[in-house]
Point group: C2
Chain length 193, copies 2
DNA sequence: AATGAGAGAGACAGATCTGTCTCATTTCTT
DNA sequence: AAGAAATGAGACAGATCTGTCTCTCTCATT
């Protein structure tokens, strides 16, 4: 028997879909209230403001992304470098899904450009946490310049996310994987000589 | 003696600054009217809607970007490949400027996610025109897979623009240039063997 | 000097969005 | 079963934004 979802859960579930698919600014509170079948009072009892909901949405997304990293670590238990390569490939493949609408953190940061806006701050913090973890992996893998490599991978991955979002039809996961591996190999080669 | 700017010119000039610095959705018509010292009627005599102004802003930006490409071609008249490398380095260096706020085309596309929104369409068209030109350069340079390389450079450059925008303090033009050259070299090496 | 286009100032309408409040009803706890 | 807490429905206020309209003034052309 299915558990009945609480108002808060329904709101968050609908918000996640709508915010990601149509953008945070484009989706109003009324829309979320209507589609989640919740009363306005119930909404504001669970979230003080819309921004609070946005922060909760970003937090949910952060957890999912960290889950992806954990997944990659489990899939390639023997080599951290293999975990890195797998993570890049795995996420790039997912960008090809028709539901892919870019990186929620980047999109939200762009939608709220004021650097001290709570949504902007939360988006950046989440993004940074993820990439700090990846940098740790690069360091753990014993690569000579984990910092530089992570910077490069972050640029490449971030751009891939944008291309997959805006120029979906032209995005080729293989091109991305090739490029990512070229960057990793390039650094490994520089270290070997 | 300085020429007096017409209302339209003043509006466009102010709009370019404000839209780029603070985002299109965040800047209202009233703000632009006030800061350009123009009457509301004068605004709507020159631009039918706000979207029309946004399209004009993007068109202006497109011209500037194409100007950057022309600049790169002039700076390295002998080798198209050198033009490509120069263009990447030149634009990456400019991303380090404190006024840099990311790629206007990507930002606007994210701000208006509806794919048939006139601002979204104009942003995408402009972006595609630029990268089609770069692909032509890669082809002209005699590279084996100009398409793939351009895709990779577009991902890397787009991500660099985002990093330079959102994580400004951590952006290193040198890391970008290294990565871009690694991608170019990687393809050249693959072709040579 | 006369005329007409362009421009400034700002009130106003209409739409939209966030957030508040009331009240009846349902659901959970004990 | 009874009281307490959560929920649904929706009116309403207040802010903000786009776009319209009127009226006046300036300036260039003739």
């Amino acid at each position: 028997m299915e558990k009945k979802l609480t108002a808060k859960e329904r709101i968050l579930r609908v918000a996640e879909q709508l915010f990601y698919r149509e953008g945070v600014r484009a989706v109003g509170i009324d829309r979320i209230i209507q589609e989640s079948g919740v009363a306005k009072a119930s909404f504001y009892r669970n979230f003080a403001t819309k921004d609070d909901l946005v922060v909760a949405y970003l937090e949910l997304h952060r957890e999912r992304v960290m889950g992806n990293i954990a997944h990659a670590r489990q899939q390639r238990p023997d080599s951290v470098l293999a975990q890195l390569r797998y993570l890049m490939e795995y996420t790039a493949d997912r960008m090809k899904l028709p539901t892919y609408r870019g990186c929620a953190f980047m999109n939200t940061a762009v939608e709220f450009p004021e650097t001290d806006h709570p949504d902007h701050v939360k988006a950046l913090d989440s993004r940074n946490e993820v990439w700090n973890h990846i940098e740790d992996m690069a360091r753990e893998a014993g690569l000579p310049k984990p910092r530089e490599l992570t910077e490069q991978l972050r640029m490449l991955w971030s751009g891939a996310a944008m291309v997959a979002y805006i120029n979906k039809e032209e995005f080729k996961p293989q091109s991305f994987s090739d490029a990512a591996n070229a960057l990793i190999d390039s650094q490994a080669a520089a270290a070997a000589k």
